[in-house]
Symmetry: C2
């Protein structure tokens, strides 16, 4: 497989999201024009992105929604049904634990961790909160692939270090810090203010 740009990869989940919504609306077939209209991405870009991964859709017809949905799920590796854990069960951790899209995309929420004894032992979305003291052993026992860091910034690096030592496959980080991890660790840094900043741009520049 040739080298795929980060921008293309970042758009795949958007395509998947739009396809899932189209299916919910009862659509069987969708054109790159209609997909593009829904996502504010040009049809040319969509066709080019998808062509990086193979031949999809039928000229003059469009993409078969269910088929393309499964193909993109497969490309994204969602059929691996990764085991995920959330570390830090404050408001954000609790919100993510209750986020149904993760489940519907095929992720398994298998563990929640916190250090606060008033939270440990509680149940969020059918998963019991475990003491962070046993993080490493639990990751091993439950075969956890992905760690989601939602602890306050000052504790995030330490949690990341422990996840790295536990040979986790990837980290999804919500803490607003520049995390130091080894080059061979996959990490995605999330910043909740990005969407709000984009909205600010639009309402500033283009009063509709």
């Amino acid at each position: 497989m040739k080298d795929i740009s980060k921008a293309t990869i970042d758009r795949l989940p958007l395509y998947l999201r739009a396809l899932r919504m189209s299916q919910d609306e009862g659509l069987d077939v969708i054109s790159s024009e209609e997909l593009g209209r829904r996502l504010e991405i040009t049809p040319e870009q969509i066709r080019k992105d998808l062509a990086s991964f193979g031949q999809f859709g039928k000229k003059g017809v469009g993409y078969y929604v269910n088929e393309l949905k499964h193909s993109i799920s497969n490309i994204l590796g969602l059929d691996n049904h990764w085991n995920i854990a959330i570390i830090g069960i404050g408001h954000l951790g609790s919100a993510l634990a209750n986020y149904h899209n993760f489940i519907s995309l095929g992720f398994n929420l298998v563990a929640l961790f916190d250090h606060d004894s008033s939270i440990v032992g509680k149940t969020v979305n059918h998963v019991k909160v475990t003491d962070i003291d046993v993080l490493e052993q639990t990751i091993k026992d439950l075969n956890i692939h992905i760690g989601i860091i939602t602890v306050p910034g000052q504790f995030a690096q330490e949690v990341a270090n422990r996840l790295v030592k536990s040979k986790i496959k990837g980290i999804w980080n919500f803490a607003p810090i520049r995390m130091k991890v080894p080059d061979d660790m996959h990490i995605v840094n999330e910043d909740l203010s990005i969407g709000l900043s984009c909205l600010s741009y639009h309402i500033t520049r283009k009063p509709r």
Copy 2:
């Protein structure tokens, strides 16, 4: 100003984030190469994106961190200090109300709304939760520019309709539905599973 692509606009908040972190680390100047390394974006792309908005940086030196940070804030319209409100004060709404990055970017959190009488009247991050019954009047009284929707999916469209009627400038939607709003309303749909899906792609495809 020429027409700027959505992809370029979406990258501006990433540049701003990286510049803010660089400044926290004490950097005065940063090259497009170093910025690119931190963001996994090519230096050519960064130079091209920024050139859409004017002349920044000095050849052979790099970008002055503080100057570029202020320029991008300005381009994003963050110096408008938009008044924001969150509608739906469950875990996600509470997490966003406590998210310090919004404040540090210049947004003013001025109101929180919920319909649950056990939540109305409580205080989250110094802001009292208001009954959603007085949504329209409060938007007018407090001059609220942006509404953040964090209610469950089945209530989201109704909330959006009320925001539209209240002549809000923009909507940031976390509900996992395809929202119907007039063409002249700016809306950014957030999907928290996008980052996790990208991480899945990376750990599936490129074992480091």
